[in-house]
């Protein structure tokens, strides 16, 4: 085979370029620690990385949401429990005062305590978390429970996204608490609001109406049962939120690992590649220096 001058030089140039390109590439991989440096390195991997990054961003978000929801539910539960306790006290008083041993005077005194309980429940009904009234439905900026026990909120359920596919309501609209449905022969088939029950109870105490006190006692019973049910359902919701948080942690670990697999360069392999590139380059240069030089010209004298 004839080997021309240009062939010799072109071939050398090509070989050196190839070695250099390989060396540069491994160097780039080693210094960036990444094997995915452009979409075309791994198109489907890139898309997976994109999606995983979205997931990670969302996971962080859901975690923030979770913290908030947990706080909101906690506050709701605390308020609800305090309301229950107040009602429990009212119930105690009703049972106690329906007994014949008490006279009008003592009942009047007790009515003051009931008034206090009433005020307390109104206050609890206007509990806030952050700047939001927790029992107002969507009416989160105005106090949902008026002094007279009238509910001014609405029935809005605030849904919040807990993870990719789950939206859950985090609030209990106050109507379910303050317009509790207790029906008996004195309510004319209508729902009697919670605070009306307490107010009626107080009035019965003031007017020494034993039968009224007795009825209040049974109505308070009904109200308590419903409050208990609601507290229980809140507890279940909190548990669900905690579950979701745990799932997020597991998922995050998986997603991170997947991304590392696609994006990150394997350090051992990169180190070996670097060594290989170095060897290849130095051999190429050595060989080129030896091959390019001599020609017959130098040996003819």
């Amino acid at each position: 085979m004839r080997v021309s001058e240009r062939m010799k030089f072109d071939a050398t140039e090509n070989r050196v370029n190839q070695s250099r390109a390989f060396a540069l590439d491994t160097q780039d991989q080693a210094s960036s620690g990444r094997k995915l440096r452009s979409v075309s390195d791994d198109p489907s991997g890139t898309v997976r990385v994109y999606r995983n990054r979205t997931k990670l961003e969302n996971i962080n978000q859901f975690r923030r949401t979770n913290d908030y929801v947990e706080g909101f539910l906690g506050k709701t539960e605390d308020s609800l429990r305090s309301i229950s306790e107040s009602m429990m006290r009212a119930k105690e008083l009703a049972v106690q005062q329906s007994n014949g041993v008490w006279d009008a005077g003592s009942r009047k005194t007790v009515s003051h305590e009931v008034q206090q309980l009433l005020d307390q429940v109104v206050q609890l009904g206007n509990s806030t978390y952050g700047d939001r009234f927790v029992f107002g439905g969507f009416q989160t900026s105005t106090p949902p429970v008026a002094g007279d026990g009238h509910y001014a909120g609405d029935d809005g359920l605030i849904y919040v996204q807990l993870d990719e596919d789950t939206f859950r309501p985090i609030n209990i609209p106050g109507r379910r608490i303050f317009e509790i449905s207790v029906r008996d022969h004195g309510s004319n088939g209508k729902d009697v609001p919670l605070l009306k029950i307490v107010q009626d109870f107080r009035k019965s105490l003031e007017s020494n109406d034993v039968e009224g006190i007795f009825r209040s006692s049974s109505r308070l019973d009904g109200a308590l049962t419903q409050l208990a049910e609601m507290t229980a359902s809140l507890g279940a919701r909190r548990a669900a939120v905690r579950d979701a948080a745990e799932r997020l942690d597991n998922h995050e670990e998986f997603v991170l690992k997947d991304n590392v697999n696609i994006e990150a360069a394997d350090p051992v392999r990169t180190a070996l590649d670097m060594k290989r590139a170095e060897t290849a380059l130095s051999y190429t240069l050595h060989a080129s220096a030896k091959v390019l030089g001599p020609s017959l010209m130098e040996f003819l004298k």
Binding site: E5, D10, R53, G130, G137
Partner: protein, 474 residues
């Protein structure tokens, strides 16, 4: 009387000339050992016609019949073909790599990342629609997202106009080379004297010009009976015939989205749109990147902006805002979604929302500050499959077109690698025949030097013989 001492002296003299010519050609080869496109030359020695001398037929020494050029037309053609393929692959890969750079997974400013932040801000907003800070955050992320769309669109269209400018340069290069070929045709016509004496160096230069032209576009070369080249280009367009050549230039007023490439006739009176006729060479790679891939991305971005924006608006318009806007609905979130225009260039958050974030809708009903039904619907709309006939979400659509671009770039890179190998191979084949080897030239030099020495010996010998003959008289 062809024989005698005088005759031997003539043979020796001619041989002296032959060896001098040999050295001269060798020198020419050596000095062109690194000249691109040069084909090595060699003197073809031939014995002179013999003559009859009595009953004998005597040789008459040697002559240089011609100076031959080590050249193979078919290898030349192969090199041209592979140069075209390589030119296309190179330009195509280069521009696709630039294009995919705008979607690099390292970048945090991509539309994709901004979408994620926007979704995140939207969820924060849905969690607390009463909170002004959440609204402001949502507006900010929406602004960075629309900016990312605008910027990406601008990048892609800038790339397209960059390519157009480069095309103008390539057209100039091509026109220049065509002129050169026609000019060389003319010079070759003037210099050549039959088959035996050809202007090899001019022919080499003409081949080189055609090779340069092959980098730019696909050409076919035909030789006429006067050894002149006729060159046909994309779509059979006549580019060079004899001493005439046509020109390429860019037509900016064709009414197309991008400037078109036109080719003139020899008289420069008519033009012919050849934009879509390039099959290989740099120009075809550039056009494919500009009109196919970049345009596809641009169309996709526009579709992305329009569909995503209007589906978002549709839900947003149902909702009520906060404060001054708590009793009114029917507002858009995004504007600039006109499908007739470039939506990706125009899309932005509506001016009303820019002025007052309370205009962002969150609730389904009026006067409900904590109502987040619409905000939740907006979150869900991000996952609605509104693209590709209801099969892809906004991010899915984005992922798909980026992955498509990535795959195209990947195969472009592989094609380029293959084209490089094949081209280098063809060039090596050609070089094997045509290239200058210094070893060989060294040997030739020695050969002709010895020949020269030997030829002088003949002359001195004859001289002595003359002397002997002249001495007879004394």
């Amino acid at each position: 009387m062809p024989t005698g001492l005088q005759h031997i002296l003539n043979v020796g003299g001619q041989s002296l000339g032959n060896s001098r010519l040999g050295i001269e050609v060798t020198g020419h080869n050596i000095s062109n050992a690194q000249t691109p496109g040069y084909s090595r030359q060699r003197p073809d020695l031939e014995p002179n016609n013999p003559t009859q001398f009595g009953s004998l037929i005597l040789g008459q020494g040697a002559k240089v019949a011609r100076i031959a050029r080590a050249h193979n037309e078919y290898l030349e053609q192969a090199v041209r073909r592979e140069t075209q393929v390589h030119g296309k692959a190179e330009a195509y890969e280069h521009n696709l790599s630039r294009l995919e750079g705008y979607f690099n997974p390292d970048l945090s400013s991509t539309i994709r990342m901004r979408m994620d932040s926007f979704g995140s801000a939207l969820r924060d907003f849905a969690n607390m629609p009463e909170e002004p800070a959440m609204r402001i955050h949502l507006l900010e992320t929406a602004n960075t997202m629309t900016t990312a769309i605008n910027v990406t669109h601008a990048n892609v269209s800038e790339l397209q106009s960059d390519i157009s400018e480069e095309l103008a340069v390539e057209c100039d290069v091509a026109s220049q080379k065509l002129k050169e070929v026609a000019l060389l045709n003319r010079e070759i016509l003037a210099l050549q004297m039959g088959d035996e004496s050809r202007p090899h160096d001019l022919e080499d230069r003409r081949d080189l010009a055609l090779n340069d032209l092959s980098k730019v576009m696909d050409i076919q070369v035909y030789k006429d009976d006067r050894e002149l080249f006729t060159v046909r280009g994309p779509g059979g367009q006549l580019l060079v015939e004899g001493i005439y050549s046509s020109e390429f230039r860019l037509d900016y007023d064709s009414g197309h989205k991008h400037p078109r490439i036109v080719c003139t006739d020899f008289a420069n009176t008519k033009t012919n749109d050849v934009t879509d006729k390039f099959l290989s060479g740099k120009i075809s790679g550039m056009i494919e990147a500009r009109d196919k891939h970049a345009q596809k991305i641009r169309d996709n971005l526009n579709e992305f902006a329009t569909k995503f924006g209007s589906s978002f608006n549709e839900i947003h318009a149902k909702g009520f805002g906060r404060a001054d806007f708590s009793e009114f609905n029917g507002r858009d979130f995004f504007e600039g979604l006109d499908t007739q225009l470039e939506a990706a260039e125009q899309i932005s958050v509506s001016r009303l929302i820019q002025q007052d974030t309370n205009a962002i809708s969150s609730g389904m009903t009026a006067l409900t500050p904590g109502d987040n039904v619409i905000a939740n619907e907006l979150i869900k709309s991000l996952k609605k499959p509104i693209f590709e006939n209801g099969t892809a979400t906004a991010t899915g659509f984005y992922d798909n077109f980026v992955a498509t671009l990535g795959s195209a770039t990947m195969s472009a890179k592989n094609e380029l690698k293959a084209a490089q190998v094949v081209k280098a191979n063809a060039e090596t084949q050609k070089e094997k025949i045509s290239g200058v080897s210094l070893d060989e030239e060294a040997a030739n030099m020695l050969k002709y030097q010895h020949l020269f020495t030997a030829s002088t010996k003949i002359i001195t010998t004859v001289d002595e013989m003359f002397k002997t003959v002249l001495d007879l008289k004394r």
